[in-house]
Symmetry: C2
Subunit: 109 residues, 2 copies
């Protein structure tokens, strides 16, 4: 018979959050898991920006950027405000910075 893990399994299993929470957490990280979106977030570190400025900066179509902004908005990482025809996007809160900073620390070792 295989070796026994019952002791560890009960200890570890009791500490684990609900599946639903863990799913939400992984969905959040997968929003950071695309270089286009990372670039958008990084751009917004400095200034709020309109969609077409981001598109110009990243040399991508405005449609592609808009699709990605939708995901970022849905994950509550960015917010937007309208000014005439233009819509400005900005970082929703400071978790974005700290999460990206932690990631940078990890890869620069």
């Amino acid at each position: 018979m295989k070796h026994d893990h019952s002791k560890i399994l009960s200890a570890v299993g009791s500490q684990m959050p609900e599946d639903e929470v863990l799913a939400e957490l992984s969905e959040l990280f997968s929003v950071f898991g695309d270089s286009t979106r990372i670039k958008i977030l990084w751009a917004l570190f400095e200034h709020e920006m309109c969609v077409c400025a981001i598109a110009e900066l990243l040399k991508m179509t405005q449609s592609a950027i808009s699709h990605q902004l939708k995901l970022l908005r849905h994950a509550k990482l960015v917010s937007s405000r309208r000014e005439g025809k233009t819509i400005y996007y900005f970082l929703a809160d400071d978790h974005v910075r700290s999460i990206i900073n932690q990631g940078m620390e990890h890869i620069s070792e």
Copy 2:
């Protein structure tokens, strides 16, 4: 003609890291972007564990877990040590904890 962004673009563009760095960063986050891998990491918060114990805990095949551990190892989020036939996995460093904690903070608002 379209509206002008040259001022913002030059300010923001100069702050942006190299594409290669941003790609590496997004690859790191995409490793966190899967609920199976998040569960594995969470399990390892408590104890080092062997592959078959993780498989048993998550009710998944040993092969699926092994594939995911390979990704986690490659991202330097986990390390392993061999003890006879058994290979124990453990968290490679504390960035894992802090990144996951920041993510948890963001979703619990």
